[in-house]
C-alpha cells in the first residue's frame, strides 16, 4: 500500500517536471518494474531507453525527441489503470505495455473509453507482448496495435515444428492460470490434434500467476506422466523457476516455450539447459547481423541487460516511420499512417495488418546452446536458431471487424 503510494507520488512528480519541455514526444511503459515479474519489465524499459537514443540521433519522431517514461504496475490491472490515468494527466499520448494479457485487456478498454470521451486528446496503445488472441480478433480496437505474434500464431509455428519430430508421442502442458495461459493450452490441444492426432496430451496444468516459488511438485508430476515434451507459455519468474526445477530433477523432456530465453534462465540453468529449452520468438541469440551484434554488445555494456526484445526496436522504428510519414505526432494521424505500414527489419519485412492491427512477421525457433559467439547474461550460452517460419506460414485469419473513427 505504502509503496504504491510513494511510487504514485514519484511518478506524478516526474510527469509534472517533464511536462514543460516542448519538443519531446513521450512514450510511457506501463509494466512490472518491481516484484516477482520485474525481470520481464525492467529489461523492456532499458531496451526502450537504449533504442530511443538511436531514434533521437536519427532525427527523432517526426522531428521531436523521444522520451521513455517507466510506470510500475506490478502486473495488476487496477494499478495499471491508475498509471494510465497518471500518464494521460501528464500529457502522454502513447503508452506501451506487454506483460500480462489481464493488464492489456484493462488498458484496451480504458484507452477506448478515453478516446471516445476526449476527442483531440487521443491515446494510442502499442502492445509489445500481451498475446491473448482475442485482442486482434473479437475484441479488436482501433487504438491498439500489437507488435508481437499472438499466442495462436506462435502455437501454430511451434506445433508445426513439433509435428515433424516423430519421437514426440506424449506432450505435457503447463501454463499460468489466466486468460493467456488458457489460450496457450487450448491452441496447443487443438493444433496438435489437427497436425499430429497420434500425440497424446498426458497433462494440462494451470498454476497461479507469479505465486509459485517451488515448481518441484509439478516436475514430479511431469516426470511420472512419461511426457516426451513439455509446452509452456510461462513468462517472467514462472518460466525461470519452472525450467530451473526441471533441470534440478534431471527431467529429460525438452521444453517448448514462448519465453524460455527470459532473463535469468541462462544463468540459472547453465549446462543443464543446453538442447533442452526451445523458444518460439521473433528473434534468436546468434546475432549474425553485424549491426544487431553491435547493439547487443553495447546494450549489455551500458545497461547490464541483453538485446532481447527485437520487437521493441521494431515498435519504435515503426512509430518513427508512421509519424514521419504523417508529419505529425498526433495519435490520430500516426494511427492512420500505422495501418498497413511495412518495415524492413533484420529478419525480413514485417507488416502491421490494417484489418486487425496485428503485426505479420517471420518467427524463429531457437534452442539453448553453449559456446555461442554472443552469450546472454555474460555467459557463453544463448539461443541458437534451428528453424525459420516465414511470415506467410505464421499468419492466421482474423475475425476482427474494426470500428474506425470517422
Amino acid at each position: 500500500m505504502l509503496k504504491s503510494f510513494f511510487t504514485l507520488i514519484a511518478a506524478s512528480l516526474l510527469l509534472v517536471q517533464t511536462a514543460g519541455a516542448a519538443e519531446t514526444v513521450k512514450l510511457a511503459l506501463i509494466d512490472p518494474l518491481t516484484g516477482p515479474m520485474a525481470g520481464a519489465g525492467q529489461p523492456a524499459l532499458e531496451h526502450l531507453k537504449f533504442e530511443a537514443k538511436r531514434i533521437n540521433a536519427n532525427g527523432g519522431i517526426a522531428g521531436k525527441q523521444l522520451e521513455i517514461v517507466g510506470l510500475d504496475n506490478k502486473v495488476n490491472p487496477q494499478e495499471s489503470l491508475v498509471q494510465l490515468q497518471k500518464a494521460i494527466d501528464g500529457g502522454i499520448q502513447y503508452v506501451t505495455q506487454g506483460n500480462g494479457s489481464s493488464v492489456a485487456s484493462a488498458l484496451i478498454g480504458a484507452v477506448e473509453k478515453h478516446n471516445q470521451r476526449n476527442p483531440g486528446k487521443e491515446v494510442m496503445y502499442l502492445n509489445y507482448a500481451a498475446v491473448d488472441p482475442s485482442f486482434t480478433n473479437e475484441r479488436c480496437s482501433y487504438w491498439h496495435f500489437r507488435f508481437d505474434a499472438n499466442a495462436d500464431m506462435k502455437m501454430n509455428a511451434l506445433t508445426s515444428y513439433i509435428a515433424e519430430n516423430k519421437d514426440i508421442k506424449k506432450v505435457y502442458l503447463i501454463n499460468q492460470d489466466y486468460s493467456f495461459g488458457h489460450a496457450v493450452s487450448e491452441a496447443a490441444r487443438e493444433m496438435l490434434k489437427e497436425k499430429r492426432p497420434d500425440i497424446e496430451i498426458v497433462g494440462n496444468d494451470f498454476h497461479p500467476l507469479a505465486k509459485v516459488k517451488d515448481f518441484t511438485p509439478y516436475i514430479s508430476k511431469i516426470q511420472s506422466s512419461g511426457a516426451d515434451a513439455v509446452i509452456s507459455g510461462n513468462w517472467g519468474q514462472d518460466i525461470t523457476l519452472l525450467v530451473k526445477a526441471a533441470a534440478e530433477f534431471g527431467l529429460d523432456a525438452p521444453f517448448y516455450t514462448y519465453y524460455g530465453a527470459s532473463s535469468g534462465v541462462v544463468t540459472q540453468l547453465g549446462d543443464k539447459g543446453v538442447d533442452r529449452i526451445y523458444q518460439i520468438n521473433e528473434y534468436y541469440g546468434d546475432f549474425e547481423d553485424e549491426e544487431m551484434a553491435k547493439r547487443q554488445v553495447n546494450m549489455y555494456k551500458e545497461t547490464g541487460w541483453d538485446f532481447y526484445y527485437l520487437r521493441l526496436s521494431t515498435l519504435l522504428d515503426m512509430f518513427k516511420k508512421a509519424a514521419d510519414k504523417a508529419g505529425s505526432t498526433d495519435p490520430v494521424a500516426v494511427a492512420k499512417a500505422m495501418e498497413g505500414l511495412s518495415l524492413e527489419t533484420t529478419t525480413g519485412e514485417v507488416v502491421m495488418r490494417a484489418e486487425d492491427h496485428q503485426i505479420q512477421l517471420p518467427m524463429f525457433i531457437s534452442v539453448m546452446q553453449d559456446d555461442m559467439e554472443y552469450g546472454a547474461e555474460g555467459t557463453d550460452y544463448n539461443f541458437h536458431k534451428v528453424a525459420r517460419i516465414d511470415r506467410d506460414d505464421v499468419t492466421l485469419p482474423t475475425t476482427c471487424r474494426m470500428r474506425r473513427p470517422k
Binding site: K3, K211, P217, G250, Q268
Partner: protein, 313 residues
Amino acid sequence: MLELVIFSTLNGVLYGLLLFMLSSGLTLIFSMMGVLNFAHASFYMLGAYFAYTLGMYTGFWPALILAPLLVGALGSLVERFGLRRVHANGHVAELLFTFGLAYVIDELVQMVWGTVAVAYREPSYMREPLFTLFGTDYSIFRGVVILISILMFIALWYLLKKTRVGMMIRAALTHGEMVGHLGHNVPRLFMGVFGFGCALAALAGVIGGPLLATEPGMAATLGPIVFVVVVVGGMGSLQGAFYASLLIGLLQTFFVAIDASLADVFNALGANLDPYGEVGRISLATLAPMTPFILLVLILIFRPRGLMGELEP
C-alpha cells in the same frame, strides 16, 4: 505412481522443514515476549541476500555460518534499541513497530540489491545427483538441506531441554517475573532469544534462497504462511510448529500431485457436485497455494488453540 508419491513426500518434507526453521524462531519469540514479529520473514530474506553477497568472497559454507550470525546480531540490535523501548507502550505499539520494520527492510533490500532476483545458487558440485530414482535426480543440495534442518532441530531441542540457558528460557516463558526476581537478567535473555530467532530465520534464508528464488518478494511470499504455521501449530508451541510445518508442506505438494477436481473429491464423499460446473471443475492443483489458509480457517473454527497450543489466542 509410486515415484510420484516418493518424490512428493520428499519435496513436501523438505518444504516443511524449511517452514519449520522459519517458524521455530517466530514461535519462540512469540511465546517468550508476546510479540508477533511481522518482520520475521524479512530476516529470512536478509539471510539469503547476506549469504549471496558473502558467498562471493567466502564461498558457500562460511556464508552458511556467517550470514545467520550477522542477521542474529542485527536482530539483537533491533530488540535492544527498538523493541525494548517500544515495549513500554504495550503490545499494539510493538506490533506496529515490527510491521514498519518489515517495510523498511523490504525497501532497503530493493535499494541495495535491486528489484530483480539475484543469481544466488548453491555451489556447482552440490547440483550433482545424490541418487537417481525412476529417472529423477535428487540433488546433493536437497540432501544437505534436509540434513541441516534435522541437525538444527536436534540442536534446538538440546538447547531448550538440556542446557541451563534452555531452562531459563523455558522458565521465562511462563514465569518471566519470577525468573527476574531470582536475579537473572531477563531483558538480556529476551535480546538473546530475539537475536537467536532471527538467526534461525536467516539460516532458512541461506538454504531457501537457492532452493526457491532470492528476490525482494520472498519475504512477502513466505511471511503469511509462517504465521499460519504458528497459529495451526498452537501459539508458542515448538512441537506444534514442527507438525504444522510438515503438514502444510505435504498438503501443498500432494494437492499439486493429485490429478483430481473438487467434484471428484466431494462426489467420493457422497456429495453430488456437477463435475463440469463452475466450482466442481476446479482442480486440486490450482487450490494448492490456498491450502495453508484453508487450514488456518478450519483450525480457528474447530480448534482455536491449535494442534499443540496451551493458550487460547
